[in-house]
Symmetry: C2
Subunit: 460 residues, 2 copies
């Protein structure tokens, strides 16, 4: 449901206490779904009526809408105690995105020292970095502990940790990360053995707090981890990123990429919740830039105005030929963007890709060129249209232009993501509309050059 649209259709609100009672045994993700259908003030009232632990669980869900507004609607004491129960990565996320500076300040002033410190360090890291999405609630033990001691510790802290399935073993002297032990191995280990005996002796996979969340996701997927530790330069653990956080990050990244590929800025909010003018802003920017770029086509056409006057027939195929260039470019750019994202290709592979896209483009262009050629011949022979006495040359022009433009489109489309990456942009910004605009301008020039070659002395 949809805040922007449903405000005209008022929801009939049960008294919050009654709703809270019916929700008490529901799965937390379903409570979130129900609360998302209501205004923040009402959601806050429901939270007040839930047991404390449940309310914390609800606030901990990244799917909960407007958590900042809900916290503001709660009595300050209650809000602060809930915040102290929440996982630090989620509080940091809310503080970063849903609260203004003075509101943040109001809460921070009341937090206990530990929460305050954890929050300050998380908020210092750039958005979308491992540091910003990590949680500081993990389990670590010194390497001189036994399996039994470690299990006892896990039992004690279980309720307060985001995950206990990965246990980090630290050097007893320096506190640096030595090993990661899986709980499953620990429970089948010898009680009296050292904790490290339950895992391979190799260095655990870890990331720096500045690692991009996409790279963290790639590591977790590649090594099938449940969590990855975030360490500083001296290998002290700062926090962990869990598989849950990574799944949420993957979903967000895909949303951003799909929206960018559509030729716009990423919305950053659900379609049915973003405000009207914010949506216009996200869409109008690229549309205007593309329009200005596309204005070059008018200039190219002005340049060939003489040819257009002499051979109106050339006009008929402009959309056909331009769009084929754009379509082949769009295919190539999508393929390469994805291959780069999956690390199937690296920046230095650009020439391999170019070597592959030229023959691919030529083959695709030959297929489309043949279809275009046959189209002109068929319409002429079937009497649908008369392209004039030089119709075989018109057919040849259309065919050759398609061959040239599809090849050019495939090559341009495949190179653009490399160029964007090299220039430090997200390759997904090399959207289908962007590629189409680039290819349109040069495609028209290709079309008219070929027409002048083939038709000069006859039509032109």
């Amino acid at each position: 449901m949809n805040a922007a649209i449903t405000e005209v259709l008022p929801t009939i609100d049960l008294p919050a206490g009654i709703l809270a009672a019916t929700l008490a045994r529901t799965h937390v993700a379903d409570i979130v779904e129900t609360l998302n259908e209501h205004a923040p003030a009402y959601a806050a009232e429901v939270l007040l009526n839930l047991p404390g632990g449940r309310a914390v669980d609800v606030l901990d869900q990244p799917e909960l809408n407007e958590p900042g507004a809900i916290l503001k609607a709660l009595p300050l004491d209650r809000a602060v105690s809930l915040i102290q129960g929440m996982s630090s990565d989620r509080i940091a996320d809310i503080f970063r995105n849903d609260l203004s500076e003075p509101e943040r300040h109001r809460f921070v002033a009341r937090l206990d020292r530990e929460t305050k410190a954890a929050l300050a360090s998380l908020l210092a890291y750039p958005e979308h970095s491992a540091g910003a999405i990590m949680t500081t609630e993990f389990v670590s033990v010194p390497a001189d502990w036994t399996v039994a001691q470690t299990l006892e510790h896990v039992r004690t802290v279980e309720r307060t940790r985001e995950t206990v399935y990965a246990i980090y073993v630290l050097d007893p002297a320096t506190g640096t990360l030595q090993q990661a032990v899986a709980l499953r191995r620990l429970i089948s280990g010898e009680s009296d053995a050292l904790v490290g005996s339950a895992a391979a002796r190799r260095d655990p996979i870890s990331v720096s707090p500045l690692t991009d969340r996409e790279d963290v996701a790639r590591l977790i997927a590649k090594y099938n981890l449940l969590a990855v530790p975030v360490v500083d330069e001296s290998r002290l653990i700062l926090g962990i990123v869990t598989v849950d956080d990574v799944i949420d990050a993957m979903v967000d990244e895909t949303t951003e990429d799909v929206q960018k590929l559509g030729g716009m800025e990423a919305l950053g909010e659900p379609y049915n919740q973003i405000g009207f003018f914010k949506m216009i802003r996200k869409r109008a920017g690229w549309l205007s830039i593309l329009l200005v770029g596309e204005m070059l086509t008018a200039s190219v056409l002005q340049h060939y105005e003489g040819a257009l006057e002499k051979a109106i027939v050339l006009t008929l195929f402009i959309p056909l030929i331009m769009s084929s260039g754009g379509n082949s470019g769009s295919q190539a750019t999508s393929l390469i963007i994805r291959a780069l994202a999956l690390r199937e290709l690296n920046l230095r592979d650009w020439w391999r890709v170019a070597l592959r896209e030229v023959p691919t483009g030529l083959t695709l262009g030959a297929i489309l060129g043949a279809i275009g050629f046959v189209r002109v011949v068929a319409w002429q022979k079937l009497g649908f249209y008369d392209y004039g006495e030089h119709w075989p040359l018109v057919a040849a022009t259309v065919g050759a232009a398609l061959l040239g433009i599809v090849t050019f489109g495939s090559l341009t489309g495949s190179m653009l993501p490399f160029i964007m990456t090299r220039l430090g942009f997200d390759p997904a910004s090399a959207s289908a509309p962007f590629v189409a605009t680039l290819v349109d301008v040069s495609g028209l020039a290709i079309y008219f050059s070929i027409a002048l070659m083939i038709l000069s002395g006859t039509l032109l």
Copy 2:
């Protein structure tokens, strides 16, 4: 690295035994990366030189290339014993995608009865269903067991289960699923209590074997699960889908969607490994369909040939106006495809979206129309081009056409994913090129209708 391209650059192969020795302590995901750079025959030789458990781990990684060819290159006895050690979902995946029917048969004939049965049931489920990606190696215990008994059982079976972090509690009489217990809760539970006391009494989240893997992923993400049980109609557990499998499925789905959005069939293989002609096949189909669709633009232009002859100036703005319609359509379609995929929108929300896209399209169209109008006026006033005595009307035509086409593009682009879904297609097939083609044809008609209205009596 890239099989298709690197075959011209021979890799210098170490003797397999030496490579195996250097790899013995490496993480299994890194062994896979190394083996992927070599031919299957060589990879098989390296596997022969690794300890059995390691070799099974390597074959269990979905990232390993050509596992079918590797298994074929191994001595049959060895291959069969490795297969029996592997997880059943992975074997099913390899049997389904990497081995021909006679090859499958050769292996199946030698498998033990248990593996054979697990495999047969997995292979019976449709591709991309929960049944096809589930594993049958999970932990379940009857509800009358105690916590201590269950933990003892987990310790015994730990090595042979894909995950032990979710334990499924069954009705002792009927064997149906009653509860899911997290290992973390179990280890902090009372030893003598019944196993079910360590979890909430509510029905666990479960899926049917026919649930699509995308829906499984959504559930796992929503409820932050490490695994979800797959149950039949009588609530007997058939297997589980783990978070690892879901991450792999999410990555695959994103790849498919991005490629479809680019206006092609999903490749189904990495860009740098797919064969040349297979790639042409995946790309040429949509390109040809779009070309044939775009041929309607030539027919529309033929229809307005009289206008084109009288006012060549109209030709100059054809690409500009057409592409703006395509771009606004591409934005809208990407937004809606993603919102549908995230279940932010449902099929029945189409009219809400239409109600939203019309004002959005009008606003965006007004912005672009203003830019287009200013462009014509500026060129005229600055003396870059002479649009004739009626240039204010030309400017008005361009502005009004942009307004109309951007509105039409936004509406068409936003409705297409709903229509595709309704017709049973993947909404991601409503690609930017597809929308652009639809909008091009009707966009030209809009442009010329507006031109006839504004310019008739003067230019036309």
